[in-house]
């Protein structure tokens, strides 16, 4: 929504690398994060090489052929594999020219990027209705250092003001100023501590 500062963080291995960015655009922004489970053959090959070199981490590589899913994920595998094969089938059909990729009636999802691009399983799309692309990137192996860098840019969180932790008196509504004075007095009379009194909407005319 307006005025928010969307931020995304990707975590690779524990204490291996954290990377993220903050999207500095105050206009209405749409963020899409998808998990896609299909790979073309080049990607599978690359993945295998990377696994051998221990450069990629388990949770970024979910596919049936390399079978690197942990045991907890096995229950999800059927659906993942099904999705994977249908997506791959569609892509192969497209490659062979059996379907027209501009014909939307065959319900074919069009490849989102150039086919030669590496397809990973996590994708994110960011769209803002106006403004420029102004992002700040962060990366660090340690989470504590990562967030220190992040907060050095956006500022550190304040502690709540002390009065905000005390008792707050509120009513919809007080009749008038005299009523307010009475309520305030009664708190003192009965030895009830309070830190804040709230006035509701009736103090405004034409609201």
């Amino acid at each position: 929504m307006y005025g928010s500062w969307p931020f995304i963080l990707a975590k690779y291995k524990e204490d291996f690398l954290l990377a993220g960015f903050i999207w500095n655009n105050p206009s209405e922004t749409y963020v899409k994060l998808t998990t896609q489970n299909y790979y073309n053959k080049t990607q599978l090959l690359i993945n295998e090489t990377l696994i051998n070199n221990e450069l990629l981490i388990n949770d970024t590589l979910i596919n049936n052929e390399t079978s690197i899913n942990s045991k907890e994920n096995i229950s999800n595998e059927t659906t993942t594999n099904e999705k994977y094969s249908t997506e791959l089938e569609k892509l192969e059909k497209l490659e062979r020219g059996e379907v027209n990729k501009y014909d939307k009636s065959n319900n074919l999802e069009q490849p989102k990027f150039e086919e030669k691009l590496i397809k990973t399983d996590k994708k994110t799309v960011w769209i803002s209705e106006s403004g420029i692309i102004d992002i700040s990137l962060f990366a660090d192996p340690k989470i504590i250092n990562f967030y220190f860098k992040f907060h050095k840019l956006i500022g550190f969180a304040n502690l709540p003001p002390l009065f905000s932790l005390g008792y707050h008196q509120s009513r919809w509504n007080y009749k008038d100023t005299q009523d307010l004075i009475e309520v305030d007095k009664k708190f003192d009379e009965h030895n009830i501590p309070y830190d804040t009194i709230w006035l509701d909407i009736e103090v405004i005319i034409y609201y």
Partner: protein, 53 residues
């Protein structure tokens, strides 16, 4: 939105009393301009084309 001076007049004096006791006052607001021709602020703004449409 306009403060109600009839019922909530002399509010500054009340705030001073609160301040002496180190208490705070919070006022809830709905920060819009009411679409009501009987509301002088709205009526004048309409008459003088002050709204951006």
């Amino acid at each position: 939105m306009t403060w109600d001076p009839k019922h909530f007049g002399k509010i500054d004096e009340f705030i001073e009393t609160l301040e002496q006791k180190k208490r705070n006052l919070v006022v809830i607001v709905d920060p819009h301009i009411k679409n009501d021709n009987y509301y002088p602020f709205f009526y004048n703004a309409m008459q003088n084309s002050k709204f951006i449409t």
